[in-house]
Structure formats: C-alpha cells, structure tokens
C-alpha cells in the first residue's frame, strides 16, 4: 500500500466510525456552543463592545472543544485494541500520524463551520470574512498537528485526558497568540496585508510543528 493510500484509509476509517456514532462531533460542538453561551452571559454584564473580546471567545471555544476531540481520537484506538492492529499493519508509522491528524483536523473544522455562523447571530459581528477564515484554518491546522502527537502520548499515561491540556496549551501558545492577534486586528477592519507578520508566524509554526511531529511520532508509538 502506498503511503498516501494508508493515510487515506486511516483517515476514512475515523470519518466512517464518526458518521455511525457522531460521538466526537456532537460532544465537541455542544461543548463549544455552551462555552460561547457562558461567555455571552459573562459579557452581557460587563463588556460594552463584544467585538473586542470575540476573537478570544472563538479561540477558547475551539481550543477546548478540540481538546475533547483529540482525547477521544486515541482513547478509542487504545481501548478497543485497534492501535495494535495499526501498529502490526505493514505501513509507515507516520502514515498513522497523518491519518489521525487529518481526522482530528476535519472534525475541528466541521465544528467551526457550524459554530462561526452561530457566533455571527449571537454577537452580531461578521466573523465570516475570508481573511478571518484563513487565520482560523491555519490556527486549527497547527492545533491538530501538535495535538495529535500529544494525544497519542497522553493516552498512554496514568492521567490520560487530564494531562493533554497541560501538555498541549503551553506548546500551542505561539500559534494561539498569533491567531488571536490576527483575527482581532482583522475584526477591527485592518487590511490583510498588515497582518503579514502574524500570518507568517502562524505558517512558520505550522511548518516547524509539522516537521517535529513527523520526526518524533515514530518514537511515541513504538512499543
């Protein structure tokens, strides 16, 4: 089996399993929605201009919902014994990484596709601009790249899902800061060209994290 065929097979397996149960999507989406609603109540009391805090709300909701999905993605593999099958299969370990990473990325993007229009309705701020969507996409990509490696680590520890945010959030800070800054500036009406620095930072970190993940993932799954 060619490398990308293996990646596709693993990715498609996750998507099909998700279509049958809809556990991960429902969990992530409802959680993200609840987070946004709670923020809504909190801001009603204090914040006069929601536009200023909205990028933070988007990213908090996406990050925490993403964490739920990441945890599930490897707990399912380990608890149902599928990981042994994947490891025994005659394929490159990094194919497992890319397959799982694409799955996590698509689940998170699916949540965002539904969540962002709801944000427009709830807060009456148009976040559905191409430039903002680009930033959200790049940030989510970085999150899935690193999150997949750390989810594979966390599932093999005693603390499991408790450990994932502790490991993941500090590493994600450069990506989150650039994503929040860029989307905040774009919401304020700054042109995309002025955000080149933050966008470059996002792309650079996506590339660095992808390279490090690709190099180290074999060591995580080696058993």
């Amino acid at each position: 089996m060619k490398f990308w065929q293996a990646v596709w097979a693993i990715f498609w397996k996750d998507v099909r399993a998700e279509f049958r149960t809809k556990d991960i999507f429902t969990g992530m989406f409802v959680f993200a929605l609840l987070a946004v609603l709670i923020f809504n109540f909190a801001f009603e009391l204090r914040v006069s201009n929601v536009r200023q805090v909205l990028p933070g709300v988007i990213w908090v909701a996406v990050v925490f919902a993403g964490m739920l999905g990441l945890n599930r993605s490897f707990i399912l593999e380990v608890d149902r014994g599928n990981i042994e099958g994947l490891l025994l299969a005659p394929l490159d370990r990094s194919a497992i990484y890319f397959g799982k990473m694409l799955g996590n990325l698509v689940f998170m993007l699916a949540v965002e596709v539904v969540l962002l229009p709801i944000l427009v309705v709830l807060f009456n701020v148009n976040v559905l601009q191409p430039a903002i969507l680009l930033v959200v996409g790049l940030g989510t990509l970085g999150f899935a790249i690193v999150g997949t490696v750390f989810a594979a680590i966390a599932v093999n520890t005693r603390a499991r899902e408790v450990l994932l945010p502790v490991l993941l959030l500090p590493v994600m800070v450069p990506v989150l800061v650039s994503a929040v800054k860029a989307s905040a500036n774009l919401l304020d009406g700054a042109p995309l060209a002025e955000q080149a620095m933050w966008l470059r930072l996002l792309v650079v970190f996506d590339i660095i994290f992808l390279a490090v993940s690709y190099m180290t993932f074999d060591y995580v799954l080696e058993e």
Partner: protein, 252 residues
C-alpha cells in the same frame, strides 16, 4: 568511583567559595550604573548579576535537557534520560528564580511587580512547559516509555527557549538587552568597567554551579535507578519464595 566523588566534593566546596565571592563582586565591588536616574533603581540594578546568572543556568539546563533527550532517542541509554531529567529540574527551579528576581527588580524600575511584556510572557510559558514536562514524567510508570515520551515532549518544549531569547529582539519590549540595543527598554544600563568584570565573574560562577548541580543530580539519579533495579531483583526472588541474601553492593 572514589575519584569521581573526590571531584564532586571539590566542586561543591568551590561553588560555596565562588558564590560568596560572587555576592561580594555583585553587591560591593561593582559600582552603581551611572545612567540610571534614581538612587533606588541604581541600587536595584545589582540584582542583575544574579538574575542574569540564574537565567544562564536555566538556559543551560533546558539546552542540556534537549540534547540529552535526543541522545536518548538515538542511543537508548538510560544514562541520557537521567541527564535529561536532572537538567530539566535545574531548568525549572532556576527558571522560577529568574522570574522571581526579575519581579523584584521590576518593582523599583518599572514600578510594577509584573507586566505582560513579550519577554516576561515567553519566559513564564517556558517555565510552565517544563513543569508540564515533569508532570508527564510522573504520569508514566514504565521507565523506557517515560524516557521516550519525555524526550519527545522536551523536543517540542525546547522550541520555546529560542523564542524567549529572541523575544526582546523581535517584538517591542520594555525588557533591556545586555548586549545590543533595544530602544523601548526601560531600566537598561551602560556597562562600566567594574560592572563588566562583576558580570563575567557572575556568569563564570553560575556556569560552575550549574555543572556541579548537574553532576550531583545525575549521580543521585543513577543511584536511584540502581536502587530500583536492586529492589526489583529482590521482589522477583521473594515472589519465587527463595531466601533473600543480602545484596552485595560494590559502588557508591
């Protein structure tokens, strides 16, 4: 074996002497910097010798952790895992000390204990990353798996160290640079001759302190590993129902 203990004892005495001498150099020998405006900021600047020195220690610790982690993944020798863990402990403890001394210095100079400046933020995140590193180690029981996971996480975590170093050069920051120029910095000072001497003395002292601490911690770590092995062997024999002979220990 006994030779190495001799070396470590020598180093331990040496760092005690150097540390006292370093206090003298930084607090008494080094003159107040001339270009700071108020008496308080001039006196407060003397914390620089220890703030910067501990920063060098933390940096060396995290760099050693990164290198030792990679060496572990390549060679699979438990020794490198012990080195990585020891270095990360030094990194965290002195990283916290850098934040604490920085905060003490910020109060008189910037008129606040803390501000979310790029340098302060990146430094805090770096410390948190290595706290997470230790949490990860504690959550894995199998020693080989623990070593592998820690080395992988250490590789990701280390990305934050050069960012912290470069943060005052990339972004507008009020944190001064010692060498080079930062137009936004507040509380930066000119290096006079006594300041320069005291600075290099302090750097040398902290490098020797780092090497000594690392060697002591690695020796302790290796002894812990040996103890775990012996304990394991005893448990295996006990579970077989055999008489347990006293385990003869050669070293340490």
């Amino acid at each position: 074996m006994s030779r190495r203990i001799g070396l470590l004892e020598g180093l331990t005495v040496l760092i005690a002497v150097l540390t006292v001498a370093n206090l003298y150099m930084g607090l008494v020998y080094a003159r107040d910097p001339v270009n700071l405006q108020t008496e308080v900021t001039r006196k407060a600047q003397h914390i620089f010798y220890y703030h910067m020195g501990m920063n060098v220690m933390a940096g060396l610790g995290l760099t050693t952790n990164f290198v030792a982690g990679i060496l572990y993944l390549i060679t699979r020798r438990r020794f490198w895992d012990v080195v990585a863990r020891s270095a990360a402990e030094i990194g965290v403890i002195f990283g916290v000390a850098v934040l604490a001394t920085g905060s003490l210095w910020a109060r008189p100079t910037w008129n606040t204990w803390w501000t979310w400046d790029p340098r302060l933020t990146t430094a805090t995140i770096t410390v948190l990353l290595y706290v997470a590193y230790h949490m990860l180690r504690n959550a894995v029981e199998d020693p080989n798996r623990r070593a592998r996971f820690a080395a992988v996480y250490g590789t990701f975590a280390y990305i934050s160290v050069p960012i912290t170093f470069m943060s005052i050069r990339w972004w507008r920051s009020i944190h001064p640079t010692v060498f080079g120029n930062n137009p936004d910095a507040q509380g930066g000072f000119a290096l006079g001759p006594t300041i320069r001497t005291a600075f290099f003395f302090s750097m040398g002292t902290f490098v020797v302190v780092f090497i000594t601490f690392l060697l002591l911690r690695v020796r302790l770590g290796l002894t812990e590993e040996r103890l775990a092995e012996v304990r394991e062997a005893v448990m295996v024999r006990l579970s077989r129902g055999a008489e347990v002979e006293p385990v003869r220990e050669g070293g340490v």
